[in-house]
Amino acid sequence: MASALRSAILRHIRVPVTNSLSLSGSAVRSMSSHGDDHLDKQAVIDRVIHVVKSFPKVDPSKVTPDVHFQKDLGLDSLDTVEIVMALEEEFKLEIPDKEADKIDSCHLAIEYIHNHPIAN
């Protein structure tokens, strides 16, 4: 009944169509459902810290966004690889070996993930 009423009204009224999106003005695909290309940086930081804190060998109170895995947390290289794998699982990424070797601190991990276009 409401739809009949609506169509009856619309037949007699001109409703102006407002074009709120000007395609020439916005460079980003505004209709795209892909969402933001990059995750929110603070969300990335929080999730990375959460992953590092859940690592059983890590003392959660020492974890900061700048902590170095081997120097500050006292982990060895195998633990570093394990943390990188845990981050891969968390963000559903697959990090190539060359990049993964460079990640040895929280700061680098956050930067890499934040700049990765597919990180979820």
Partner: protein
């Protein structure tokens, strides 16, 4: 079922300890990436979490961390890859996985580690005939 783990088709001799080390990390990463498949095949989602499985794999690798001969490391990697292939191809069964890798680890099954094993007399009895 096709093997999802690529065999380490590399020359059997690592040139140096550094190269062997690199191969160990590659093996570890391959194992970690197969963990979701393993959890699905053997339906162990309610027993362990992926992060615990990662720690288990790491501790197995760490048991041989003291080895310094690259050829021995190659041999161990070959055995490890073979084991991983067996697991991923469903050649094993759930109780193999659980018995060999999950049970008996203090961080995963803490209750069995603290079970009372008996009195002092029994402990001595189990240890030897003469006490």
């Amino acid at each position: 079922m096709a093997s999802t783990v690529k065999y380490l088709r590399v020359p059997p001799n690592s040139a140096s300890l550094e190269e062997a080390r690199r191969r160990v990390f590659d093996f570890f990463k391959t194992a970690c990436r197969s963990i979701p498949t393993i959890m699905e095949i053997y339906t162990i989602d309610d027993v362990v979490t992926p992060s615990q499985l990662r720690s288990i794999v790491a501790s197995e690798i760490r048991k041989n961390a003291h080895i310094s001969n690259p050829k021995v490391i190659d041999m161990l990697l070959f055995k490890g890859t073979e084991e991983l292939n067996n697991i991923v191809e469903h050649s094993k069964q759930r109780h193999h996985i659980l018995g060999q890798y999950v049970l008996g680890r203090p961080e995963i099954t803490p209750d069995s580690a603290t079970k009372d094993q008996g009195s002092e007399y029994l402990k001595n009895f189990f240890r030897s005939n003469y006490f």
